[in-house]
C-alpha cells in the first residue's frame, strides 16, 4: 500500500518570509497522524501545499502517489479537507453546502450524512450567515466525514466546538480509522491529539522538531519526580541527566532524562524514600519545552 503523504525537505517562501524551511512529514496508510505546532509554525501552509493550492519552492511532495500540484483534481476525488475556519456563503443553507462539497468530491453517503447531522446536532436548513463559528465547523466536518474518501485532511477542525461535540468528533475520527481511512489532523488541542493520534509530527518555524509515536516522544523526555526523603538529598544535582533540583527541607523535586531515571532512583533509595510521586511529561510539557522557553538544545534533536 502506498504512503498517503510523503513530504521531504519542503521549502515555501512568501516574499522574504520562509514559511516552510525543509519540512519532512510522512503519514502512513491507515493511521491518524497528529500535526502539531503553534500558530504561524506552517501547519496550514503545509496543508495548502498538499492540496495543490500553493506551489513549492523546493523539496519533494507526494500525495496518494501523485503530485499534489499537477494531479490536483484527480487526487482531490480521494480526499476531503476541513479548514480551520470554515466560511460559508451567506445565502446558502448548510445542507446545500454539504451536498455541494460532497458532490464536487464525487458523492457522499446519504446515510452517514444523516447520522452525522444527528450526532453533531446540526440544523442543515439554516443559512450560512446564521451559523455560529462552531456550527460552521460542523458543516465542514459533516461534508468531509460523509464523503467516501481515503484521506481526511483536517486543519484544526474542532476550533469553536464545545467539549461534547469534541467528543463526537473523536468518535467519528475513530470510526474513519476503523473504516481504513488515513487522517492528517492538525491541532493545537493536545488532549485531542493524545486521544486520537497514532503518530505525531511537531513543527516549529516551518521545520519539524519531533516525529514519532506518543510513546516514543515521551521516552525521549524527562520524568518529573517529587519525593520525601529521610536524609539530606546531596549528590542528586551532580548526577548526569538530572535537572532543576529544588529542595525544601526533606522534600526534593527534580526532572530527570528518562535514560538517567534508573541512576537517579538508585541514589534516592540510598538516601531513603518516604514517599514518591513521578509523572510522565504531558504533551503540554513537550510543547512548553519546544515553544515556551528558549531551550539550550538545538531544534530537531530527536528525529
Amino acid at each position: 500500500m502506498e504512503t498517503p503523504i510523503e513530504v521531504a525537505g519542503l521549502v515555501k517562501t512568501f516574499g522574504r518570509t520562509r514559511a516552510l524551511d525543509g519540512l519532512d512529514l510522512t503519514v502512513r496508510a491507515g493511521e491518524v497522524h497528529g500535526f502539531l505546532g503553534p500558530n504561524g509554525s506552517g501547519k496550514s501552509t503545509t496543508i495548502r501545499v498538499l492540496l495543490g493550492l500553493l506551489r513549492t519552492d523546493a523539496g519533494a511532495v507526494r500525495l496518494l502517489g501523485g503530485d499534489p500540484w499537477r494531479d490536483a483534481v484527480a487526487l482531490h476525488r480521494r480526499l476531503a479537507y476541513v479548514p480551520g475556519d470554515v466560511t460559508l456563503w451567506p445565502n446558502l443553507s448548510g445542507g446545500e453546502v454539504i451536498d455541494l462539497l460532497g458532490r464536487l468530491r464525487g458523492g457522499l453517503d446519504p446515510k452517514r450524512r444523516a447520522e452525522l447531522l444527528e450526532s453533531f446536532e446540526l440544523d442543515p436548513r439554516k443559512k450560512g450567515r446564521a451559523y455560529s463559528k462552531g456550527n460552521r465547523q460542523k458543516v465542514g466536518l459533516v461534508a468531509a466525514l460523509a464523503s467516501d474518501v481515503e484521506l481526511l485532511i483536517l486543519d484544526e477542525p474542532t476550533s469553536g466546538l464545545d467539549p461534547l461535540m469534541e467528543e463526537v468528533f473523536q468518535q467519528w475520527v475513530r470510526r474513519a480509522k476503523r473504516d481504513g481511512r488515513t487522517v492528517l489532523l492538525s491541532s493545537h488541542i493536545l488532549a485531542e491529539v493524545e486521544a486520537l493520534c497514532d503518530r505525531v509530527t511537531i513543527i516549529r518555524n516551518g521545520r519539524n522538531v519531533e516525529t514519532g509515536t506518543l510513546a516514543e516522544l515521551r521516552h525521549l523526555h524527562r520524568t518529573s519526580v517529587d519525593a520525601e526523603v529521610v536524609g539530606s538529598p546531596d549528590g542528586l544535582a551532580d548526577l548526569p541527566g538530572v535537572h532543576d533540583v529544588r529542595v525544601e527541607g526533606t522534600r526534593v523535586r527534580f526532572d530527570v532524562d528518562n535514560p538517567a531515571l534508573d541512576a537517579a532512583l538508585r541514589r534516592l533509595t540510598e538516601i531513603g524514600v518516604r514517599s514518591l510521586v513521578s509523572q510522565p511529561p504531558t504533551l503540554e510539557e513537550l510543547f512548553l519545552r519546544h515553544y515556551g522557553t528558549i531551550t539550550d538544545e538545538p531544534a530537531g534533536v530527536a528525529r
Binding site: 495548502r48 492540496l51 495543490g52 493550492l53 500553493l54 506551489r55 490536483a72 483534481v73 484527480a74 482531490h76 476525488r77 480526499l79 479537507y81 476541513v82 479548514p83 475556519d85 470554515v86 466560511t87 460559508l88 456563503w89 451567506p90 445565502n91 446558502l92 443553507s93 448548510g94 445542507g95 446545500e96 453546502v97 454539504i98 451536498d99 455541494l100 462539497l101 458532490r103 464536487l104 468530491r105 464525487g106 442543515p124 436548513r125 439554516k126 443559512k127 450567515r129 446564521a130 465542514g140 485532511i153
Partner: protein
C-alpha cells in the same frame, strides 16, 4: 447609566471609519446642483429660451417622471427640477450609511464587542443617525453656498438645499428603523430600498398623472413642492422633520425590544439538502441576484432614456451650443439618435461595471476563504474560474440587450415605429458589449496575475468614464482618448460603420481574460 452613554465615542468611530467615504458623497452631491445652475446660465441666457424649455421638454412626461415637476421658468426653478433626482440618491446614500453602521456592525459581531463596554442601549443607533443627519445638513448648507455662488437668490437656494438635506434625514431614519427589523444587513437594505422605491413610484405616478395628492404621500414629493425660487412654501419643511421624529420614535423602542443580533422579523430557513450541481450551479446562485437586479435597473433606465430621447431632440432645437455638444458626444444623424448614441455609450460603461464586479467576485471568494474548500475538491481551477467568467462576459450582454430593448420600446412608441426601432436599439446596446468586455477582461487579467491589485480595474473604468465625458470638452489628444475601449465603439445608428473595431476589442478582451486565466493556474491560492 443613560441609554445614550458612549454615543460621542461611537460618533468618532464612525467618522474615523468613514473619513474618506463621507466627505466624498457629501461634496459630490453638494456640487452637482451648482453645476446644473451653471450650465443653465450658459445654455439659456435669455428668458424666451427658458420659457420654451420650461413649457416644452421640462414638462415631457419622461422628464417629469425622472426629475419631478417644474414650477417656473427661472434659472432657479429649472435647476431645482434638474436636481430633483438627487433627492433619491441622497436618500439612498443616507439609508445605506445608517444600516452600514448599525445592522452591518451587529451582523459582523463588532457591535457585541462594543456593547460589552460602557455603552448605552441606544448609543449605536443614535451615533449612526447623528452622523448621517449631520452629513445631510452639511450637504444642504454646501448646496446652498454653491447655488448662491452661481448667482441664484439666497432664499430659493436655502429652500432647495434644506429640502434635499431633509429628504436624506427622512431616509436615514428609515434605514435606522429597518435595521431593527431583520437579522441581516442585506435584508434591512432590501426593505429600506423598497420603501425608497415606493416613495419614488408614488412621486412618479402623482407627478406624471398630475394627481398632486399622490405625490404629497411621498417624502420624495415634498422636496419639489417647497417650490424653491418660485414663492417658497417654507411650511413644507415641517413634513420631513415630523416624519423623521415619528420614525425615530418607532425605531428606538424596537431597538430595545429585541435581543442583540436578532431582528423582529424571523430569519428564513433554507433547504435541508441542496441541488447545486457543481461550480456553475453555485456561480448561478452567487450571481443571480446581482444579474437580475442590474437587468431590472438597466431596463428601467432604458425605458426612461428611450422616452426622453424624442424630447431631448426637441429640447435643443435652435440652440446651437447644445447641438454642438451633443454632436460631440458622438451622434451624427438626428439629434434624438445622437442623444441615444451618447447615453447608451454611458450605459455601456455601467455594463462594464457589472463585468468588473462579476470578475472580482472571484477575488472576494478567495479572500473570504470560500474558494479554498471548493478547490480542495475535484474542481479544476479553470472550471471554477470559468463559472465566474461566464457571468463577467455574458452578464454585460444580458444587461445591455435589456437596456436596448427597453429603449427600443419607449423610443419606438414615441416615434410610432416599435418594430423598426426595437432591433436598431438592441443593436446599439449590443455594440457596447466588446468595450465592456475589455474592462472585464482586464479585471480577470489582474485577478490572475496581480490579485492584490485586482480592484485597479475599477480605476480603469473611472478613467474611461472621465475620458468619455471630459475628453471632447477638454480637447484631449486623440491617443489619450484611444486608450479607452469605448472610444472605439462605432456609432451603429449612423450609416458608415464597420465591425472591425468590435472584433478587435473582442479579441483584446479574450486575450486579457485568457492571460489572466493562465496566470491563475500558476499562482498560489489564496494570495493574501
Amino acid at each position: 447609566m443613560s441609554t445614550l452613554t458612549g454615543t460621542r465615542h461611537l460618533v468618532r468611530l464612525i467618522l474615523r471609519r468613514d473619513r474618506v467615504l463621507l466627505p466624498l458623497w457629501v461634496l459630490l452631491l453638494a456640487l452637482l446642483p451648482m453645476t446644473y445652475a451653471t450650465s443653465f446660465f450658459e445654455l439659456y441666457p435669455d428668458a424666451a429660451q427658458r420659457t420654451a424649455y420650461a413649457t416644452g421638454p421640462a414638462t415631457n412626461p419622461s422628464i417629469v417622471a425622472l426629475l419631478g415637476p417644474v414650477y417656473g421658468d427661472s434659472i432657479g426653478a429649472l435647476t431645482a427640477q434638474r436636481g430633483g433626482f438627487l433627492t433619491l440618491i441622497i436618500g439612498l446614500v443616507s439609508l445605506l450609511t445608517v444600516i452600514r453602521h448599525t445592522r452591518t456592525e451587529e451582523e459582523a459581531g463588532r457591535r457585541e464587542l462594543l456593547g460589552a463596554t460602557v455603552l448605552g442601549r441606544h448609543a449605536g443607533l443614535a451615533a449612526a443617525l447623528l452622523v448621517t443627519y449631520a452629513a445631510n445638513l452639511l450637504l444642504g448648507l454646501l448646496t446652498v453656498a454653491g447655488l448662491v455662488a452661481t448667482g441664484l437668490p439666497a432664499a430659493g437656494s436655502l429652500a432647495y438645499g434644506l429640502a434635499a438635506a431633509l429628504a436624506g434625514v427622512v431616509f436615514a431614519t428609515v434605514g435606522g428603523l429597518t435595521a431593527q427589523l431583520t437579522e441581516t444587513a442585506g435584508g434591512a437594505r432590501g426593505i429600506a430600498v423598497g420603501v425608497l422605491g415606493v416613495a419614488f413610484a408614488l412621486r412618479l405616478v402623482g407627478d406624471t398623472a398630475e394627481r398632486d395628492w399622490v405625490s404629497w404621500l411621498s417624502p420624495l414629493g415634498w422636496a419639489p413642492r417647497i417650490r424653491a425660487y418660485e414663492g417658497e412654501r417654507w411650511w413644507v419643511l415641517v413634513l420631513p422633520v415630523v416624519l423623521s421624529v415619528l420614525l425615530a420614535a418607532l425605531a428606538y423602542p424596537l431597538s430595545v425590544r429585541r435581543d442583540l443580533g436578532a431582528g423582529l422579523l424571523p430569519p428564513r430557513l433554507g433547504p435541508a439538502d441542496g441541488g447545486l450541481a457543481g461550480p456553475f450551479g453555485l456561480a448561478w446562485r452567487l450571481h443571480r441576484g446581482q444579474l437580475i437586479g442590474w437587468s431590472v435597473g438597466f431596463g428601467l433606465l432604458g425605458l426612461v432614456l428611450g422616452g426622453a430621447a424624442e424630447a431631448a431632440g426637441k429640447a435643443v432645437e435652435g440652440n446651437a451650443q447644445v447641438e454642438e455638444i451633443l454632436a460631440r458626444l458622438g451622434g451624427t444623424s438626428a439629434l434624438a439618435e445622437a442623444y441615444l448614441g451618447g447615453t447608451l455609450g454611458f450605459v455601456g460603461l455601467a455594463a462594464a461595471g457589472y463585468g468588473i464586479q462579476a470578475a472580482l467576485r472571484m477575488r472576494a471568494e478567495e479572500v473570504a476563504g470560500r474558494a479554498e474548500p471548493l478547490l480542495a475538491t475535484a474542481v479544476h481551477r479553470f472550471r471554477w474560474l470559468a463559472s465566474h467568467l461566464l457571468f463577467a462576459l455574458a452578464g454585460p450582454v444580458v444587461v445591455l440587450a435589456v437596456a436596448g430593448l427597453a429603449v427600443g420600446v419607449t423610443y419606438g412608441l414615441g416615434v410610432g415605429d416599435v418594430p423598426g426601432q426595437l432591433p436598431r436599439m438592441v443593436g446599439v446596446g449590443l455594440a457596447q458589449v466588446p468595450a465592456a468586455w475589455v474592462l472585464a477582461g482586464l479585471a480577470v487579467l489582474l485577478y490572475g496575475l496581480l490579485p492584490r491589485l485586482a480592484p485597479v480595474a475599477w480605476g480603469a473604468l473611472a478613467a474611461c468614464v472621465l475620458l468619455g465625458q471630459l475628453g471632447a470638452v477638454l480637447e484631449l489628444s486623440q491617443w489619450l482618448l484611444d486608450l479607452s475601449p469605448f472610444t472605439h465603439t462605432p456609432q451603429v445608428l449612423g450609416d458608415d460603420w464597420t465591425a472591425t473595431p468590435l472584433l478587435t476589442l473582442t479579441a483584446i478582451a479574450l486575450t486579457l481574460a485568457a492571460t489572466g486565466t493562465a496566470a491563475l493556474h500558476h499562482r498560489d491560492l489564496p494570495t493574501t
